[in-house]
Subunit: 336 residues, 2 copies
DNA sequence: CTCCGCCACTTTGACGATCAAGTAAAGTGG
DNA sequence: CCACTTTACTTGATCGTCAAAGTGGCGGAG
């Protein structure tokens, strides 16, 4: 910047003013001269220096707490990332992805915050609720603007949140099964709890209760790592029960697909012998055999909303509603 | 840092020495005192300042050039991101995601480089080859370590590269079809070219040539934006030909699935009336109906390799082979 | 007893920008 | 013609860290 200033015969501050669009007091002549110098020298402002001085990085953190890369590789998450990326690009922000290891809560996940590399964060958590709670609390302590993803907050926390109507979706899925005559309905998910899947589990139980069906713990399985193969072994265990289920609700589409495959491998017909439902409605749900009955969750829109919320906050804009719950949509297809 | 120093009764430089593990000259007593002060004050070094001073950001850029969020939302890309994220986390690096708009090549994509926010970049390009070429060239000009993804480089460029055996994969897929008696084989892809898909297209043509089959341009369609619906309309056009194809190779799995669906909608049986193949072997390929014959591309491993290559280079390690081509694997299933 | 070298620090001065305050010159009103 | 405002800049300090050079005290060699 000093070079540019010298080249244009002005002070560095004047160059800074131009770069930051403070043109209220600058002659066109000077502006043109500086622009020429910048062009000629191939100058671009150093964002690191700017960040240091101004204490703003124009970067938001996409923080994932999860085993291995499960969460990051989830076909739901990439929709969210796409939404976040699009909004961030339009608003002039960058996105820093950082993954933390689960286990005892510690600040590893929040490293980018502690190191002052981001202005705000999007939090994707997994694990038991009492462990998850630690992170937003710590973020509040660190006074960093935070959007908690996929978690329904009570509304009195300092954070913002974006989620989908997971409970409602699961409930209507279960209602659909119950209307179809099913009385023994199983719910399967992975060991590592994802908040949005917990909401689905809750919706499932509510539907059972509302229909006067008793809850059977042996029909609720939480095993494996969100992999189709894990669904297979859970299906085996369910079908080996003395009174096996006639319908299985998968915590997400992947488990549903794994379940359907295992059912077919065991000679069962879906949906006649065993109904199967998914959740998320990822791009391929309608192409599997039979087409998957699932709930459409607007991942891309969730990413957009979250990024918008966070960036609006960072830019000091008014935020009308800090807790967003996006609607879902039942997609009845062939599998249930 | 100054606060910590004062608290511990030493100079800031001494704290810096401890933080950077320069313990050669430090009494245990002092070390313990400083550690106590850091703990007590909740001190964490400011990475922005460190970056400014040391001209290193310990951040790598994941740069995507694409329309909307197609590339980012591709089920292949998220595998790659997962791999990159895992390696980066283990090596102490962060990942900055930045998307650039396609069109006339400009430095928008390389903004994080120009602004000195990253130490090196992973380049995911799309568009015509002559436009793509601009970016690695510009990156070289800017002297930033670069790994070009999904593109087969000649080997004399300053950049590194990671790709998969796309040509070989497509070739063996086409060979399989030809062995199966197919003589009219179509190839469909999106309008916006992705490098790895070009390699596949090339492999397809090589296989035809090797089998003595004449190439028919009306069987090679490039339309839409990598969406299943686009595949549908391409299938319509192909089947309306006077001499329609008996097999369709999709540029990726998504198009293949869209093609299968359209074929079925028109009352055709896959694979008997029309054979369909995909590419990538994303998680759901084996669950569609019929299970998709495709080529397995190791997305996660590609991400790992790319990140490793780049970070090894940044850390000054010896790199034995800067151009990596990972093997693919033919997955013959039911669709062809 | 002096000198040297080593140890365990301290001091100084960037890195590249921004913020806050200052100033010369030109313009305006009475 | 003077006082005051506006315009178009400039100056100096600072953000948090790290590299390089400096310093005081102590032990051992000569």
């Amino acid at each position: 910047m000093r070079d540019v200033a010298e080249h244009a015969g002005v002070s560095a501050q004047t160059v800074s003013n131009l770069v930051n669009n403070r043109l209220r007091q600058m002659s066109d002549e000077t502006r043109v001269r500086i622009e020429g110098a910048m062009e000629q020298l191939g100058y671009h402002p150093n964002l690191t220096a700017r960040s240091l001085r101004s204490a703003r990085t124009t970067t938001i953190g996409f923080l994932l707490l999860d085993e291995g890369a499960r969460y990051l590789a989830d076909p739901m998450t990439d929709q969210v990332i796409a939404g976040v990326g699009d909004i961030a690009r339009d608003r002039g922000y960058s996105v820093l992805i950082h993954a933390g290891r689960p286990g005892r809560p510690d600040s590893g996940l929040l490293k980018p915050v502690l190191e002052s590399r981001v202005d705000g964060v999007l939090l994707f958590l997994s694990g038991p609720p009492e462990q998850r709670a630690w992170y937003p609390a710590r973020a509040a302590e660190l006074n960093v603007p935070t959007v908690v993803m996929e978690e329904a907050l009570a509304g009195d926390e300092p954070q913002m949140s974006v989620t989908a109507e997971n409970g409602i979706g699961a409930r209507s899925l279960a209602d659909h099964l119950i209307r179809g005559g099913h009385r023994r309905i199983a719910f399967i998910a992975a060991r590592q709890p994802w908040p949005m899947v917990e909401q689905r589990h809750l919706g499932y139980r509510e539907a059972l209760a509302a229909a006067g069906l008793e809850r059977d713990p042996s029909l609720e399985l939480f095993e494996g790592i969100w992999d189709a193969a894990d669904a297979g072994s859970m299906v085996d265990r369910l079908l080996a029960l003395p009174d096996p289920p006639t319908a299985i609700m998968g915590g997400n589409d992947l488990l549903a697909i794994g379940a359907m495959r295992q059912a077919r491998a065991r000679g069962l017909h879906v949906p006649d012998d065993l109904a199967v439902t998914g959740f998320n409605d990822f791009a391929f749900a309608e192409f599997v055999d039979p087409p998957l009955t699932t709930v459409h969750v607007p991942g891309y829109e969730m990413g957009c909303s979250a990024a918008q919320l966070l960036i609006d906050h960072l830019d000091g804009r008014e935020i009308s509603e800090p807790h967003i719950t996006l609607p879902v949509e039942l997609r009845l297809r062939g599998s249930a």
